[in-house]
Amino acid sequence: MYSLLNRINTRLHLFMTVPAALLYGIFFIYPLIQGIGISMTDSNGVTEPNFIGLQNFIEFFNDDRAKGALMNTIYFAVGSAPLLNIFGLAYALFLDQNIRGRTFIRTIVYMPAVISPLIMGYIWYFIMQPQRGFLYHVLESMHLGFLNGNWLADSSTALNVIIMVNVWQFVGMTMIIYLAGLQGIPGELYEASKIDGAGYLARLRYVTIPMLYPAIKINVVTNIIGSLAVFEIIMAMTEGGPGYATESMSIFIMRMMYGSFTGYSTAVALIMFVVIVIPVFIFLRATKSKEMEM
């Protein structure tokens, strides 16, 4: 009897994971395995699919539109994720000080993050419309009309504008996580470093940044994943246009999925999964060694 009780006791933690494991299996592992299967077929979503091996994956590397979507996604992530972290950290450092109205400023900075990216995209689309948008009239009234342009119609500027809007919207989210991290740093560390003669920059480098590694890790990983999976804000502002100039991987997958290329879109989704996992994995490995040093 004692042995049975002991066994239940030691196995209980495994038993407790069953509900979570079941949900994970049903909603992640099973669809993933199904997806791998579909990606190796010519499925169009309706008729009986045929097995075609790795042809869809090979097709991806010969498809200019798909490669364009991949490049747009990487460009967006490379532009967005660092800016979100730089500005988020800057805001956090600034608003962690004893300044008047800091709660109000924090609220203002964070507020856009609670609005749906789709709605925010539409708001910025209306703001930036040439000849009838808010920004156009503001610049005209300030005699700065020469700065006006149709940035969302220009293939070379449209994605940059979307990156700026995305950073503006989500910088508050990044800031909050950094602020939480900053408030968890013991004051004694700063006092000790001051006694040792460290200036502001030295304290930032040798105390603040190392102590913020957990927050940096959360922010960088979530920003990379969020940026690589970008969808709504692009749909609202340009719908991936002009043409395919701002089409992201997510949008491409959705359009292929509904355009009779179900097998191909599933293959691209798996490629996207790898594209997201690689930078996240590299970053986690890199920060793990830094945390170990601490």
Partner: protein, 443 residues
């Protein structure tokens, strides 16, 4: 021992919870089976039909018609479901087995897969325009899988006051069309000669569908051009031909852009911007279909007296102007329906002359029924004149992987300067490749 009891209680709760759920399911299934069994025995039991539509503008109106139908047929309930992206949602419905009885989503692929039932023997065909019946007939089987209550048209809407003031006539050739636009630009610099809502890819796609494809439809006629599109007869379509419809279309559109005859924000302007510009007199011409009429009148009812309607100018020399005259508000009954007779009864109800009249007047679209006299809009007489003078063309039968939206995105690329202005055959080549790839994916 206390801990042991706690574990046992937890495991028991979990076990009975699972068993309880499973019993709940089995009870439900039994109840469902009973219900179906009962249905077989008692045919008079209630029947529930599902109507799946992608037409947002008719949802409320359809609810009214459904209420009338249900009061006349108390044993049949009709549940309407609307989806914005109906064609894609329908694909999911077919794939998942959640198939509605009646749908407005009708494509050649689904006809090829026997997804609809044949409506050829229904009684209402004698009352429908022969051209509309032809458009509803599957060219491969000769069966009629859908029925349309209305006719829709698309062409150039123009501001009659501006035309009268500048002494302009409706264009019969491309040169006349450009000349009209140039006159407007010179005489009225604040007015956009032709306003394109380029953010809406469906609207740019219509330029391809009606102007570029219009040349093919005009040359081959309705039946042969439908066959050419459906069976991808490359020689007849001539998409990649340097002197074919796509290359000429690209050249003509670039001419309008280079001469500043379209709005500067043609790539980012929305459908709402286009309607506002037209109603306020800031745009002299727009390319649209009859579906825009109700919305223009909602913005300003007085615009009715200023609206003129003309066909699309021909792109090629020697061709005639074209106007879209196609079936609108189409319905099909799915072959997966368990209640086809009740579904047919509902369609017959929709086809009653008083219901067609009510529907036509509400959506401001002409009926396809010869015995229905509906007062559907303020430009009724003008559109009739255009239908008589211009070549009537139909919607394009797209391969399902290359929609009108995809066409619009290619036009966006064209306007954004992706293709070298001096050699627009690259656009035509790319168009042909994209079309062929999409067509092959569905074979």
């Amino acid at each position: 021992m206390t801990r042991f009891m706690m574990y046992m209680t937890f495991i028991s709760l979990l076990f009975f919870g699972i068993v309880g759920c499973s019993e709940g399911n089995s009870t439900n299934s039994t109840s469902d089976n009973d219900s179906e069994g009962g249905e077989d025995v008692e045919n008079q039991e209630d029947v529930s039909l599902k109507l799946f539509t992608g037409k947002v503008e008719t949802v409320d109106l359809m609810d009214e018609l459904i209420a009338d139908f249900e009061s006349a047929n108390p044993n049949i309930q009709v549940e309407q479901e609307y989806a914005n992206d109906a064609s894609n949602v329908m694909k999911v419905k077919f794939a998942s087995g959640d198939v509605p009885d009646i749908t407005t989503v009708i494509t050649q692929d689904y006809m090829d897969q026997d997804r609809y039932i044949d409506l050829s023997d229904e009684s209402y065909w004698d009352r429908i325009l022969p051209s509309i019946k032809e458009l509803n007939t599957d060219i491969k089987t000769g069966n009629t899988f859908s029925v349309a209550t209305n006719v829709t048209m698309a062409g150039i809407f123009y501001n009659k006051e501006i035309f009268a003031e500048l002494g302009l006539e409706e264009a019969q050739t491309w040169d006349e069309f450009v000349s009209n636009l140039e006159t407007i630009k010179e005489e009225k610099p604040d007015v956009t000669p032709l306003f394109l809502p380029g953010k809406e890819v469906w609207s740019l796609g219509h330029l391809v569908e009606f102007m570029a494809h219009g040349e093919i439809k005009q040359e081959l006629g309705i039946s042969d051009s439908r066959k050419a599109f459906i069976e991808n007869e490359k020689e007849k379509l001539g998409f990649s031909d340097p002197e074919g419809p796509m290359a000429i279309f690209a050249e003509r559109l670039m001419e309008l852009q280079d001469k500043g005859l379209i709005n500067e924000d043609a790539l980012t302007a929305s459908y709402d911007n286009q309607k506002d510009a037209f109603v306020t007199g800031n745009a002299a011409m727009i390319s649209q279909g009859m579906w825009v009429m109700g919305e223009l009148l909602d913005i300003d009812p007085e615009v009715a007296g200023r609206i003129g309607f003309s066909p699309y100018p021909p792109l090629k020399e020697g061709s005639k102007p074209v106007v879209l005259s196609a079936e609108d508000s189409k319905y099909a009954i799915t072959s997966a329906s368990e209640h086809p007779e009740e579904a047919k009864k509902f369609l017959e109800f929709l086809m009653k002359d008083e219901n067609v009249k009510k529907y036509s007047e509400a959506i401001k679209s002409p009926p396809s029924f010869t015995d229905v006299d509906a007062d559907w809009g303020p430009i009724k007489d003008e559109t009739n004149a255009v239908l008589e003078s211009a070549v009537n063309i139909q919607f394009t039968d797209w391969p399902s992987g290359f929609s009108g939206d995809d066409n619009g995105r290619m036009v966006q690329e064209l306007l954004a300067g992706k293709y070298d202005g001096s050699d627009l055959t690259e656009f035509a080549q790319e168009y042909a490749e994209t079309w062929n790839k999409a067509w092959e994916s569905t074979q």
